[in-house]
Amino acid sequence: MSRLKFKGLFCAILVTLVLVPFSGRCASSPSNKFIQKSAFKGKNDIVITFAAPVEEAWAKDISNYRVYEEPDPDIRLEISNITLSQDRKTVILHFDEELNQNQPHVVTIRDIKSQGKNLGTAIVKVKKLYLGFLFSIFIGAMLIHNFVFTKYLGLCVFFGTSQKKSTAVGMGITFTIVMVASAMMSWFLYQFVLKPYHLDYLQIIVFIGLVSLSVQAVDTILRKVNPVLFKAFGVYLVLVIANCIILAVPLILADNEYNAAESFMLALGAGLGFLVALFLMSSVRERLELANVPPTYRGLPIAFVVAGLFALAFLGFSGMSIF
């Protein structure tokens, strides 16, 4: 009964953590109500949809539009030409140069003229799909910038627990849970306590404390809830405290000023990336037991060689970008 209650509570916390930031995001709308939609199209175009037909002479005048990337308002982007759709509701702005779609673009549309009326100036922010951005953080943390194979973090736990598949998977799952819990707590403390009180120079101390807190909490709870798994982890659960990944993620969050949803995705990606790394490594090491390895290389040395080969393979992901 108490176990069920605990599970329910945990799910509720997770769901609120995921949903709260979205509710705020969805409400954002263009400053002028006459503009229905704005989006990137292809590599060189921005599409703007109006609520009603606009006047052709006004729409085709390049001087009515000003476009710049959000961080550099001084640098105006040159529009090469403009096309208006048949129903005169959709305007496509063509640019000669490729747009850097990782940056939000600000489009200022002057004195919109529709059916003989002046509807005022609109300022629109054109952004990539936010869910796509979240997904790219997730995939990035999991595969492209895999913490073990591309950043060489958390190696002690990685080599310690990758001898058997079952331990590796268990360790990976516990690690993911601890990772997400501690990253969300450190995000909250950093944004709402450390930053407002100008104490961000204490971030490392606070994050270390939070990590050991969540490890201790998982240790206490797991001992009661699942003693078998607890025995299987043995000393490695405590080793999570000494894992560099779990400290690296909160520091990355603090550096990049991520919001709650982005932090959640990064932490989840880092945790699952570690799980993937552990699983891959343990499947190879289980086979290595049967292989004829020269005596000098048996054990850890061959494991390091294998890890190096994995790192080379993961190098294939580098430079990839999704969405």
Binding site: V193, H198, L199, L202, V206, L213, I221, R223, K224, P227
Partner: protein, 53 residues
Amino acid sequence: MDPTLIKMAIGGLALLGCIGLFFGIGLALAAHKFAVEVNPKVEEVKEVLAGAQ
């Protein structure tokens, strides 16, 4: 010393102390709730053994 610096330092100490206290109490409550009964004989046997290693 600049009084604003002292104020900041004391504020930081107080804040971190509060955080520590809060989480400490939380952990203590969790430990109480998820307590596992340990056989007292395990400790006793360990005490009697030589324990060099």
